[in-house]
């Protein structure tokens, strides 16, 4: 049990560092055991250092940096233990356009092993989708699906 845990931990940790550096274009991040003497009960802390910046409390990161760090950890876990499918509801809302593009590019890579359904308002994310479903509310306040081309969807968000 402890050995399985330690292997999962070290693999996710390695992935976390790699995905973070990929999404941030540099920098480092890792998971840290709060109590190395007691692996069976130790908690886990997160250290995240965007490129060029000093290692500081996670709370001092910007809204977009926090979101991208969380996304890095999510992707790291999915790389270690792929979920058959994953539904993401606007998780890239705080990212600027450059970060959305990096996120979308990495999503394509991870999507080889996990099926993604992403609810999004962002052009960069729409552009990497294989299928696009448009949702709208009709005059009776009932949801209906509408066929949607990428170009229409993109023009609605820019």
């Amino acid at each position: 049990m402890t050995r399985k845990f330690r292997e999962a931990f070290s693999e996710i940790n390695r992935n976390f560092g790699e995905v973070f550096a990929k999404l941030f274009g540099g920098g480092k991040a890792e998971l840290i055991m709060t109590d190395y003497e007691n692996l069976l009960e130790s908690g886990i802390d997160i250290m995240a250092q965007p490129p060029g910046k000093k290692n500081q409390h996670l709370s001092l990161l910007s809204g977009g940096e926090r979101a991208l760090t969380a996304i890095s950890l999510l992707f790291a876990i999915l790389r270690t233990k792929p979920s058959p499918f994953c539904v993401l509801d606007e998780i890239e809302a705080s990212l600027d356009e450059a970060n959305v593009d990096r996120f979308a590019e990495y999503l394509m890579d991870i999507a080889r092993n996990t099926q993604f359904i992403v609810i999004t308002h962002r052009k960069g994310t729409m552009e990497v989708a294989n299928i696009l479903y448009g949702v709208t509310m009709d005059e009776s306040s009932v949801t209906k699906m509408v066929s949607m081309k990428l170009s229409d969807a993109v023009s609605k968000v820019s």
Binding site: A70, D89, M108, V128, T136, T143, M148
Partner: protein, 165 residues
């Protein structure tokens, strides 16, 4: 193993039947504020056996049934069916496809079906145990919830790693 089809009727704002097909790639769902996108995510969460009304943004389980609008009367039942590919036999069942269905009536009465055969909620929970889908883990990240991955307590993060182990 992947999600093939999602059929929703009477669930929240999806009063009229919605039938979504998925392939193994990335599917994007787009649309204006309040159109029903997150309701579709809620439908997936619900059919997988979600018991917490709070995770479904409601106050009572009855809140997931279409409650009507200016121009439409409420309906009496919500039903969601999820079809998964089982060609790699991830599920220990002799079917190449698994369809789970959940229904709830205004009375509070619920029904669960596995490939059209009546079953209990517990059977659905057990079906997904160890598949990485559903109630634990990260198969559904709700709106505004991505930050929670960072703000969970350090003990909760441990649980996440344990489940991945």
């Amino acid at each position: 193993m992947y999600l093939k089809r999602l059929e929703i009727q009477g669930f929240k704002s999806l009063a009229d039947k919605i039938d979504l097909q998925f392939n193994q790639g990335i599917t994007a769902v787009v649309g204006p504020n309040g159109s029903g996108k997150s309701n579709i995510a809620d439908a997936v969460r619900w059919v997988l056996g979600e018991q917490s009304v709070k995770s479904l943004r409601g106050a009572r389980m009855e809140d997931v049934i279409f409650s009507g609008s200016d121009r439409r009367k409420p309906v009496g039942m919500a039903e969601v069916s999820l079809t998964l590919d089982n060609s790699s036999s991830v599920f220990p069942l002799d079917y190449s496809e698994i369809t789970i269905t959940r229904r709830v009536y205004r009375s509070g009465e619920s029904e669960y079906l596995l490939n059209k055969a009546s079953c209990r909620l517990r059977d659905i929970h057990e079906l997904f145990m160890d598949t990485g889908i559903g109630r634990e883990g990260y198969s559904i990240i709700g709106q505004g919830k991505i930050d929670e991955i960072l703000s969970t307590k350090s003990e909760d993060r441990r649980t996440i790693i344990e489940e991945a182990a």
